[in-house]
Symmetry: C2
Subunit: 209 residues, 2 copies
Amino acid sequence: MDRMISMSVVKRLPRYFRYLGELSDKGVTRVSSKDLSRLMDITASQIRQDLNNFGCFGQQGYGYNVEMLKDELAKILGLTRVYKLVIIGAGNLGQALVSYSRFAKRGFEFIGMFDIAPELIGREISGLTIMHINGLKAFLNEKKPDIAVFCLPGESVRDVLDIVIESGVEGIWTFSHLDLKNMGGVKVQSVHLTDSLMTLSYMLNEEKS
Amino acid sequence: MDRMISMSVVKRLPRYFRYLGELSDKGVTRVSSKDLSRLMDITASQIRQDLNNFGCFGQQGYGYNVEMLKDELAKILGLTRVYKLVIIGAGNLGQALVSYSRFAKRGFEFIGMFDIAPELIGREISGLTIMHINGLKAFLNEKKPDIAVFCLPGESVRDVLDIVIESGVEGIWTFSHLDLKNMGGVKVQSVHLTDSLMTLSYMLNEEKS
């Protein structure tokens, strides 16, 4: 696989995968880049270019085979395995994530949930009991989760970062406003909520200027 | 202002704004594109190119004036006014958002919170009392929020979409997996949590392939 795929292409792949899943659920077996373009609001040439990156070529006059393309994207996105996730920070956001059923459908399975607040420890959320952060290191060593999810206020991330990195997780999914770089082979993906909201305010402002 | 700024540039602006805010908090008065590059892990030429789009030119041998650039970005991002936000869906995610203090700091103010679940109605979260969705229309007409925030399970969005669009909000910030397009002049910004997680699993898989 070409390793030089740009992140902007990569970030569109989950969306392709979602739309193909919906088509497949509806019993659609093939789709042209033109139809996909209309559905997804991306130009057909962009779609062809994106998918060509991964050797997914549509056939002239036929288009794409929905099931095959979906399976191929699942492989590319690493969705053919199960990931074990541990949540660090069991406040409202952490609780929202473990309660969200769409993750399990994609193979993302929450196996533990940690916090420091006494009133949260021992509470059960979606079948998981919130544990005290003191037990995090032992848990990581024993259960070997693949992904750590940071739902902590900004600076607190620093307190657990070393333990998490050393435990050998493959990836970190973080909601902290702190930018974490890929460290020691651990990949980082951030959700910046404030940035997203500022992008919206840009759009509202642009309209008027 | 040039209206053809690409969304990939726009999406980097909040990050510039954040870093400049941190520099300003530390008392730094000027910064070169080179230093900013090191901090933000973006090439210096990308930074110059991005900011030139908005007429923010650094001076040769001086760099950027931190305070001036930050103020300019605040204007571009529409952060010089206050936005009133209404949350639709007061589950864990909605509760997490209203409790997150960083939004208020940027001028995003939550003024109402709605749900349909009887056990949630009347509960107070961060000073807001959760109201029944039946009262949404009257609330929108009276309080005229600028932004509606959708924290609802996918399909339920359709039940409130028309009311929200008709009420005259400027923007929708949505966490639903349903892709909403800009409609009737209303701008839409989505946070796709599953897509973000799939991007991470791509990165984990790419490493190994």
